[in-house]
Amino acid sequence: MFKQIFLFELKLWFKKPATYIFFLVFFLFSMLLTSAIAGILGGATSDSNTTINSANAIAGILNGLNTDLIGAIILITIMAPAVYKDFQYNMHPLIFTKPITKFGYMFGRFSAAFLVALFVLTGTVFGHMITCALPGIEAERLGAFSIMNYLEPFLYFVVPNTLLVGAIFFSFVIFSRNMIAGYVGCVALILIKGITTSLLGDLDNKTVAALFEPFGELAFNDVTEYWSPAEQNSLSIPLSGVLLFNRLLWLGIGVGITFYTYYRFKFSQFNEPVSFFKRKNKKEMLSIASVPVHSLADMPKVKQVFSASYSWTQVWFLAKFEFNKIVKSIFFLIVVALSILTLAAVTTQLGLIYGTSTYPVTYQILQIGGATFQFFMIILIVFYSGIMVWRERDAKVDELVGTAPLAPWVLFLSKFIALVLIQVVLLFVIMITGMVIQMYNDYYNVELMQYLKELFGFKLIGLVLICSLSMAIQVIINNKYVGYFVAVLILILLPVAFNLLEWNNQLAQFNSSGPRLPYSDMNGYGHTIFSFMIFKTYWVGFCGILLVISNLLWVRGKEKGFKARLKIAKTLFNAKAKMGLAAFILIFLSAGSFIYYNTNVLNKNVSSKKQEESQAEFEKKYKHLSKTQQPRIVAANWNVDIFPYERGAKLKGYYILKNKSNRNVDSVILNMLQDVDIKEFKFERGATRVIDDKENGFYVYKLSSALKPGDSIKLDIGLEYFPKGFKNSDPGTAIVYNGTFFNSMILPSLGYNDQVELSEEAARKKYGLGKKERMANVKDSLARMNTYISSDADWINFECVVSTSADQIAIAPGYLQKEWEQDGRKYFHYKMDCKILNFYSFLSADYQVKKDKWKSSLPDGKEVAIEIYYQKGHEYNIDRMIKGIKRSLDYYTKNFSPYQHRQVRILEFPRYATFAQSFPNTIPFSEGIGFIAKVDDTDPESIDYPFYVTAHEVAHQWWAHQVIGGNVQGSTLMAETMSQYSALMVMEKEFGKQAMKKFLKYEMNQYLQGRAREGKKERPLMLVENQQYIHYNKGSIVMYALKDYIGEDSLNAALAKYVKAVAYQEPPYTNSIEFINYLKAVTPDSLKYIITDMFETITLYENKVSKCSYSKTKEGKYLVKISIDTKKMKADSIGKLKDVMPNDWIDIGVFGTKEINGKKTETELYLAKRKIDKNKMDIELIVDEEPVKCGIDPYNKLIDRTPDNNTKAFKGGGKESTGSGNGENVTITIGG
């Protein structure tokens, strides 16, 4: 019986074209994705160390394609109808009464559908295989072909996931006899995935999230995220640990659901569906209406109204009817409840940075709500549009309704309105839920207007457009499932495909919004509302056309053929319809051409490929000028007029250029952004422009008389920038209504700029350019003639007058000399009293200012003014920042050198970027990284990152603004790593050692993830090539460990010496070799190896406690026995590991617990560095109190990819160690 049904179903499926179409979709999409990863699509070229056909890479592609909606939706169309078709066509009474077995029916159907689904999904596998055989893929991107690389991910992910999703659809539909139940199941899975993914914001949740994410993607990430490129290319997927548990759990759930369904399934019962609400027996009211008449001619006479206005009444009535049908269904309620739960769950992880969340400000809630609901609302729209369009036909009431005297547009329009109303309800749910969440978190600044604007302004338009498209598809295609498929294709797959192909023209991306700015408390929605409206108008035109056409093609009656429908449509295409269509076409075309004019005529829309080409061309054309001797900027003086509301600026000023070389300078090369209008480049003694390349922003001036060594010349500069219209996608955030921030990088620079050159090796090869190292060798003496941030200046004098609108404050480095108002504008004159790097910024916003003072406790008693410029309403963390500045000044002046300025200013800028940047006495600080942080002072583990970021940026006033390395490898070690170290020390003083643990855990995680993604070469810290994961994250860990090994005082003494030696130096600039030598000088010989391990090489450890036990001694003390495993490895630039013998001093620790203030707190019972020179060692030691936990390197000072197994809790207590009879183990006894 099973066999017959199974084979019958299978045959049926393989006769359907849909099966092959689905297969083809997966096949093509897999090809597309793989080609994009392989870099043969013709977009931007980037370097990578990983092959595209390793098990790891294939798992990534298969997961990406299957676990998302795409997979889910195709699975629905295969799995759900497997049973639903019997109900749909009312076959179930016939089938369920046939002498078939339950087993045969259920498993026959299920297995066939499951198999077909798997067949369809193999499309990804074959698509990948074929792509790998295509020409044009770099040889190093292809590993050896191995069938296991495909089998493993297919068996671990595709098969169980298909089973899970399939079982859910199958059984939900079988129990409810309703397709929507299947969709609800799908939504639930996707929401669980969303929730678990959001949990990742806090590292402590990593394992939980990995375990419970239904598709195993997070679990897969969890086991592979620290794999170096070499490991990614060679290792197979380990089915162990959290991945194994995750797979077993969800496979179990899938199988469980299947068998539960099997046992609960009874043919008889399923003549009636399971009802969630038992229907109450309605009492039938016996009331007498009229007495039956004998002839219907005696019926009451009624008047029928066929006016247009009554048609609108009918539209509204039908819309209400349709709306009620949906929102009053149990499934809708379940879906809404699920989404509320999700939102509540996701917002607990609000904007986590270092595990610390932000206040639930409205824009955060809306952003998360929007992101969470985005996909989910699209599916709802797609599904409900199908249900609505087919409602009459599914209920077989179509002929009754079709013959009713309705105007031809009434039914379609009413359904469309109902669908839109449902979106309104969902948005309303988001709003209310968001507000409740805010209040639940004791946050009462509920910005109702922002909710309304965001949800019912911006969001709703987009949803209405999606509703139109998806309704139109259902009507035009006239097949529910094909309609679903096409809708998903257009709404979900197409954007991904466009993205992969880098077709970024927003005119072609359905429902595009043009350039967008996120909401900012400072700048609101900014200047993009206008372009947003234009783009939406364009799409309204498009959807209007679709709506008119689909209304004409609406099936009313029994004609199904497209030809017949077209014929009927022709008769309906009356003057009004023609006018409507013409109006929408007009809107579509005029908005479209206006957009085209703005994005492609007024502005350029350059693809990344074009961009690459012009970069290559630039290099070929001008590289020969790179050796042309250039003068250096020694002073900059600017008059900057910022016009926030026109989003423009006029800059007038001058550079003093000095010939610091011993050769004559006869020409000057100037670089200037293409967008900026150059009003004037005027050299004091005259010059002629010999190269005028506006395309590349490259200008060469031949000086009338050569500049002799030691001579100076003044260069007058006039610039103007006002945006022309709007661009395709870049909103431009430098000058905005409130919160302007731009720095000197956009001002004219001197000399051939090799930063413009293509940096990706693959790209350079493509354009026939020679090899180029990411950074010059650490010893490159020529490169050391420049700092790593500027190639045309050393130390400069700086002065400026900045003006802005009357309601704003404008700021630049230097001290305020004068402030005045003139012609309704405010002017500020700033002057710096010491030499600074050629690196400064201009800001303007409507600021609140909080002022404070720091007084040095050192003998000089220096005073420093502190000013925080912030957005009104962002008072939360101002005091933390002020405290951060004070503690930093305390520590740095005491340990490094005096502070060179008299003032520290922090200036908030909109969250279009999320960083803080240190300029002389001036620190622009993004509103997104600290101003709304919600630091929990009661939790010692909660990281006060506003304090940390402040400490880091203040440290840059030393590490960058006093000490700056040459433009070579390793220089960010002395800037970023040292700022991290400085901030760590300030934090440790303020919050204690315990607080550092969590911070360093995040740093470790970031470093290990970062090196896994390295596309070029991982460098040792000393040779870091501006790699953030190295100079920030690894830097933190290394410097914290170094301090631990050689002591804070001697380390700081070395640093102070170094600062003294190199601060404000003229070229050649210092490098990391010099720096390391200062460190070596204070490191005892026995520890010299750590400098090699930490700075000069890439060293990893695999430390772990394998066994531990303790027993009570006669003296009432505790004898602790610990067995440890140590593995020490050296990695090369792509992470190939080589084991080395440990001969290291490593922390051994034993911990107990104590009640402090009613809280169980961990206490150190023992902590000391022991010499570890074997891979396995047993250690015995005696502690005074009862131990709870012990560990090797318990504070994770060393780099270790499995830090969690460094410590181990004792099981039970007082038991003898369970045999340490391993012959090679060495026992050391400590203490007594």
């Binding site: 209406a289 039956p292 008449v293 009624v302 029928q304 013959t403 031809p408 009313r556 004609e559 008769t571």
Partner: protein
């Protein structure tokens, strides 16, 4: 008022000729359209009801072109399709009100009155709060006629309304149909001869997309007088009889088979004369 169908033809995309040059004139009163399953009755009904297109020909209701002026047709049409359902989980009262609004009965009071009257008339008043999904077949059909009668239609089309009803319900349904006024056109399609005999003043018999016979039931019976002969035979003899005579119907009576034969005179003495009834006319027509 007269419905005039001229040279109406329709061929489905699969090649099936559903309507083959139909010509009919239908006047006020009840008109029966008789034919076996698949005769093209429903296609004709749907074409008249604006739900289907015709390939050629015309349908005129007085001056109203029913094939092109669909909006106008719908204003005066009451239609009960052969196979229909209702929205799940909607009560009869809500449903009839729903249809009343669709039919353009704008005045709330009038709407209430007509809905009440129709539910009463169809004997569904007491069950008005039940979901239509829970109705029995007969109740559904009665509800169907109630909705078809909303808004004083001038043309009522009922397609196989009594199929599957028990005799009681069928009677009730017939009573209901018979109440429909004489001054509107009612087209009743059915494959049950009795329905037509009981209700219709005019009729047509259709098969394979063609109108085979058109006239008043009594007249057609009259025309058949003396041409129907009956005989009781054994099962084994049936084949032979079919070969020799035009057997129009067979019926099992007490283990034997009673056959009716169409013959202009008595075929032989074993045949007995029977008074032709409409059934004989029907069978004689469709077995031609």
């Amino acid at each position: 008022m007269q419905l005039k169908i001229t040279d109406l033809s329709k061929t489905y995309s699969n090649g099936l000729k559903a309507l083959n040059n139909i010509n009919l004139e239908i006047n006020s009163g009840m008109f029966g359209l008789l034919g076996p399953n698949g005769a093209g009755k429903s296609s004709l009904m749907r074409t008249i009801s604006t739900l289907q297109e015709a390939d050629s020909g015309s349908i005129m209701l007085d001056d109203l072109n029913m094939l092109t002026q669909k909006d106008e047709v719908r204003k005066i049409l009451g239609y009960l399709p052969q196979d229909f359902g209702f929205y799940p989980k909607v009560s009869a009262w809500d449903m009839i009100n729903h249809f009343a609004i669709l039919k353009g009965i704008a005045d709330a009071k009038e709407r209430k009155e007509i809905c009440e009257a129709l539910l009463n008339q169809t004997n569904l008043w007491e069950a008005r709060k039940r979901n239509i999904g829970d109705y029995s077949g007969g109740m559904r059909q009665r509800f169907g006629i109630a909705q078809a009668l909303l808004g004083n239609p001038k043309l009522v089309i009922v397609d196989e309304p009594t199929a599957g009803l028990d005799p009681m319900e069928r009677n009730r349904f017939h009573n209901l149909l018979s109440e429909i006024g004489e001054n509107i056109i009612v087209i009743l399609s059915t494959h049950i001869v009795e329905d037509v005999r009981n209700l219709c003043s005019n009729m047509a018999i259709m098969n394979q997309g063609q109108v085979l016979l058109y006239g008043k039931p009594a007249q057609t019976i009259d025309d058949m007088k003396g041409m129907i002969w009956s005989k009781l035979i054994d099962k084994e003899q049936l084949e032979e009889h079919r070969k020799n005579f035009r057997v129009i119907s067979t019926k099992v009576v007490e283990g034997k088979i009673q056959i009716h034969v169409y013959h202009t005179s008595q075929p032989d003495s074993s045949f007995a004369a029977v008074t032709a009834d409409l059934e004989d006319v029907y069978f004689a027509t469709i077995t031609k």
